[in-house]
């Protein structure tokens, strides 16, 4: 503990920021300075987000392939995912994200237990890999007869010029099933984020809208940007069902192909992770007229707020009453644990460096139990996720973003729901906000330190200088942080726990944070010989002679009782 103890609890955010930057070569410091800002919720400063990662700084970020295959499309469990490339990419994305799946329909197969790859070798690098890809698709079809096959390009594929889309078209024609491909080579963007965008485009182009079966339920939504990590989507689904709202599809936690085909028939899109899926919401609105709102089911207060917003959208007294009833019930059930945990955790400090929405959403769970967030930042988000969508028109499109295809979408002449658009207009006039993400910073305190794509060096310094009580981050930082004696909650994988969404999930999270902050292990870090280095010459513990019992004497004293035992 000694070396990592708080050197100066009084160090201001600006001073800490300066300290962090000192370690870097000047060019790097200049670049990083734009990505580290001191918050002011009333005059939100610009964050240099979604810019290139600095080579050589230990980063949390992953690649475009990871964002596309790993995050957005990977969870669709009944289509076959084939990675076109050398073995590593397919191998590492095999069951490492906790997008849990529970196939329910007859004949619904969970292919997520299978990692499929073309296992590209030198020969294909030299002579091209299209032939092997075609053969792999054929073999996959022959063995599994899936409904659809999805192909993912990895770094070398783009460089050697394999046309994965042409192969997909050819095999689609040949096999008579849906086959589509993603140009999600790892180098395409500055982070996973590029992969999300590419995935959104592909799912929209190739799946959404294939099944026009209309909804019969009066209140239907899609939950977008919810990946069912640790069962979160199941919690949200259960809660909405209780309220009387039907989820058509969740993109893409525990979702099947048929649900996505039919997603465009919902009344409303409700977005959890704005960063990874706002493209889909925008495209669905343009083409089908479905409006979208931002929701957040992480944290009890936010969950209640989101439910009320959904109820307000549907303009039904019956639904609103039901929602109020459910909120009252759930809040009452949650109250004892929330109060118990708050009593122990109030005033403790957290810092969150994760994701494209989690570093925002999880602040609400910490707030629920009276904790403060000193510092937060995203791994791969954009300025709008920090500063709110109002900055969108001012974001400069750089060369890296231009690489990602913006697909041109128009209103569908037959299927565009002008009634939805009219309703949106009417509700907006009465003060209801759509397409409305305000970002993380407006909800954070003044002088909180906002750090985008935080580096290892910056995390280390933050801990040393500000000593937060807990950090929310990912697998790569977890044990670095814990070696410093600070618990770290993984907010990608939930440390294999959860769910943390909705009210039941909130209770799980409160208990988990309480456990982590108060677990006994940390109190043993300093051994007794270090605490009492001088010593007294006597052991601290000696057996109590007067308490020692001799079994035979006890028996003599009370033989009957012993027998009865």
């Amino acid at each position: 503990m000694t070396e990592t103890s708080c050197e100066s609890a009084e160090l201001s955010a600006e001073a800490l920021r300066e300290e962090m930057l000192k370690a870097y070569p000047s060019k790097t410091a200049k670049k990083r300075a734009k990505q580290m800002v001191v918050n002011d919720p009333d005059a939100i400063p610009e964050v240099g987000a979604n810019s290139r990662t600095t080579p050589g700084l230990i980063t949390q970020r992953g690649c475009t392939y990871a964002g596309c295959r790993g995050v957005v499309i990977g969870p669709i469990h009944d289509i076959l995912h084939i990675t076109h490339g050398p073995i590593g990419c397919g191998y590492y994305s095999w069951l490492t994200r906790r997008n849990l799946v529970k196939p329910v329909n007859e004949g619904d197969t969970n292919y997520l237990q299978y990692a499929m790859s073309t296992d590209m070798l030198e020969e294909q690098i030299v002579f091209g890999g299209e032939k092997k890809l075609k053969q792999a698709i054929q073999e996959a079809y022959d063995i599994f007869q899936p409904k659809a096959i999805s192909i993912y390009a990895t770094c070398p594929v783009g460089l050697i010029g394999d046309d994965v889309h042409a192969v997909a078209r050819e095999m689609k024609e040949k096999l008579g099933i849906n086959v589509f491909a993603f140009s999600c080579e790892g180098y395409r963007g500055v982070s996973q984020s590029a992969g999300h965008h590419i995935a959104n485009n592909g799912v929209f182009k190739h799946i959404v809208g294939l099944d026009d079966t209309p909804q019969t339920h009066p209140y239907t939504v899609n939950i977008l940007g919810e990946y069912n990590i640790g069962g979160d989507a199941w919690e949200i689904d259960t809660l909405l069902r209780k309220c009387g709202i039907h989820v058509v599809s969740t993109l893409s936690g525990d979702v099947n192909y048929e649900q996505i085909k039919n997603a465009h028939t919902a009344h409303l899109n409700a977005i959890m992770c704005h960063r990874s899926i706002n493209y889909m919401a925008e495209m669905m609105e343009t083409k089908f007229g479905i409006p979208w709102i931002k929701v957040n089911f992480i944290g009890a207060d936010q969950t209640a707020k989101s439910l009320r917003k959904l109820a307000a959208f549907f303009e039904s007294k019956e639904l609103s009453d039901r929602v109020e009833e459910v909120i009252a019930q759930e809040m009452a059930a949650l109250k004892p644990v929330r109060e118990e945990v708050t009593a122990r955790c109030r005033g403790k400090k957290a810092a969150l460096f994760v994701g494209g929405s989690r570093a925002h959403h999880y602040q609400d769970l910490f707030k629920d139990i009276g904790m403060d967030v000193l510092s937060a930042g995203y791994e791969f988000a954009h300025r709008d996720d920090y500063e709110g969508r109002s900055v969108l028109p001012t974001i400069k499109v750089d060369a890296d973003s231009r690489n990602i295809e913006e697909i041109h979408v128009e209103a569908d002449p037959q299927r565009y729901r002008s009634d939805f658009a009219d309703k949106k207009k009417r509700l907006e006039d009465s003060g209801f906000t759509f397409s409305d993400y305000n970002g993380m910073m407006v909800e954070m305190k003044k002088n909180a330190l906002v750090i985008d794509d935080i580096s290892h060096h910056e995390i280390e310094m933050l801990i040393k200088k500000w000593k937060p009580d807990i950090i929310g981050s990912g697998i790569k930082d977890k044990f670095v942080i814990e070696k410093m004696g600070i618990p770290c909650k993984q907010l990608h994988s939930y440390d294999y726990g959860g769910p943390y969404a909705a009210f039941t999930g909130a209770a799980n999270f409160y208990r988990e944070i309480d456990r982590m902050l108060h677990t006994k292990v940390w109190q043993f870090v300093v051994p007794p010989w270090q605490k009492d280095a001088a010593g007294t010459g006597k052991p601290n513990y000696s057996p109590r002679k007067d308490k020692r019992e001799k079994p035979n004497e006890a028996w003599k004293k009370n033989p009957v009782a012993t027998e009865e035992i």
Partner: protein
């Protein structure tokens, strides 16, 4: 669980399903962590580095730091020179390592980046501080496997750092291979027990099994130092454990500096450990101490005590070739029948060597290199086995096949913790392996046998 796996086998030539290997760079990264004060650097797009760090962290539950050149489209078109130069400057300025160990990825290999040239240029620009080192290995993901990547980086340690002063040093080089820190501890302990002074490289003990002290050390006390690596050219001999992971480095020391190499297999079970102990005895000219004889005797005692429970049990084994070869030898020593033996890695030698080991015990065994777990599972469906041994990915096959007894062994183990602290190498490690095997068999019997057969004593 794995419901789509068919019993019927259809020939595949292009589609890999559930691989039993991964790519070269992760091996290079792991090897580099076994140098004291080293920053592994992944020259490619940043996803590789993120995947490798995550995967190694899940296996070790320890900090795994590494840097990346973070290629974007521009670097992929124009080459990675600027990225690597900038990275090296940032690494030395910010993280101050003794060594940066650069490995390539499929991306930088396809582009054709010339790493030695870039290192030279960066040095000339003064961005590599005096006395610091940058080494490199070429590890394209479309060649070999994580084992060959490990081997390439281990070889690079010799290539870049080993020297010969002309004065021999009374020490033996130990190249332990792609094993866990606990295994390296055990290998070193046996040598120390025999009074042999060793230089072990790469050595991830005290790097990836560090204590909780409340103080984070970016470069923990473990790992082979640059000085020690330099001295390997003066050692009296090298002992390298494992054909895939270790032999190349020892052979290079022999070619370059005439340090004679003993090329052994991993010391798992009786005879492979005997060979290791005897190699130490012969090369260093020492006696085998009574303490090791005792250990060996205890292993034999456990083997005889437990023989009836393992005799002729049908075993399916998968994993990395060095591990699988040594394990298969031990299974034969235990009178077990390794009926299916596979690795995902390449190399004809694997099949040849396994067949040789199984020639008498199990001549009809199915043996395959460049295989995958889908195929292994199909074999098991066709001809059931009593026991499955392999890395964590085996757990799904085990569940799919009526909770087939399953022992976790090798890399990676993502869902249990023992491998991090308790070695399966050496005589004592052999006892642990028998414990694991019999526990797995007994647990199934205790859970599932008819009540009248539920017995207290085994």
């Amino acid at each position: 669980m794995l419901d789509a796996t068919t019993t019927e086998i259809k020939e595949r030539s292009a589609l890999r399903i559930n691989p039993a290997k991964t790519c070269q760079p992760i091996g290079a990264m792991y090897a580099a962590l076994g140098i004291h004060g080293c920053m592994p650097h992944s020259h490619g797009s940043q996803g590789c580095c993120a995947y490798h760090r995550s995967h190694l962290t899940r296996h070790f539950k320890e900090p795994v730091v590494a840097t990346t050149s973070s290629f974007t489209e521009g670097a992929s078109v124009f080459g990675g020179l600027a990225n690597l130069t900038q990275a090296l400057n940032n690494i030395f300025t910010t993280y101050n390592p003794e060594v940066v160990a650069v490995h390539t990825t499929c991306l930088s290999e396809v582009i054709g980046d010339d790493i030695p040239m870039i290192i030279k240029k960066t040095k000339e620009e003064g961005k590599i501080p005096e006395g610091k080192h940058v080494i490199h290995a070429n590890t394209p993901s479309f060649v070999g496997s994580h084992l060959t990547g490990f081997s390439a980086m281990t070889e690079a340690m010799v290539k870049y750092l080993a020297e010969s002063t002309g004065t021999p040093k009374n020490q033996v080089n130990l190249v332990p291979g792609y094993v866990d820190p606990a295994d390296i501890r055990e290998i070193k302990r046996i040598a120390a027990e025999m009074g042999v002074k060793t230089v072990t490289f790469p050595d991830t003990s005290d790097v990836l099994d560090c204590p909780q002290t409340g103080v984070y050390e970016m470069y923990p006390k473990g790992g082979v130092t640059v000085e020690e690596l330099k001295s390997t050219g003066d050692s009296i001999a090298s002992i390298a454990l494992g054909h895939w992971a270790s032999h190349a480095a020892a052979e290079l020391l022999e070619t370059k500096f005439n340090v004679p190499a003993s090329l052994l297999e991993l010391p798992i079970g009786v005879s492979a450990t005997d060979e290791y102990v005897d190699a130490l005895r012969q090369t260093a000219g020492v006696e085998v101490p009574a303490s090791l004889v005792q250990e060996r005797g205890r292993l034999l005692d456990v083997m005889s005590d437990m023989a009836q429970y393992v005799y002729k049990k049908r075993v399916a084994v998968f994993g990395d070739p060095d591990h699988v070869i040594a394990l298969t030898r031990f299974l034969v020593e235990l009178d077990m029948d390794p009926v299916f033996v596979v690795t995902g890695s390449h190399g004809n030698y694997f099949e040849e060597r396994i067949r040789q080991i199984l020639e008498k015990q199990c001549p009809t065994a199915k043996v395959k290199a460049q295989a995958d777990l889908f195929e292994l599972h199909q074999w098991i469906k066709q001809e059931p086995v009593d026991l499955l041994i392999g890395n964590s990915y085996g757990k799904f096959m085990s569940r799919a096949e009526d909770n087939l007894p399953f022992v976790r062994f090798g890399f990676p183990i993502l869902d249990r913790m023992g491998h991090r602290y308790f070695s399966m190498l050496g005589y004592t490690g052999g006892i642990r392996l028998i414990e694991k095997i019999t526990d797995a068999l007994f647990d199934k019997r205790d859970r599932e046998c008819a009540e009248e057969w539920s017995e207290l004593v085994y």
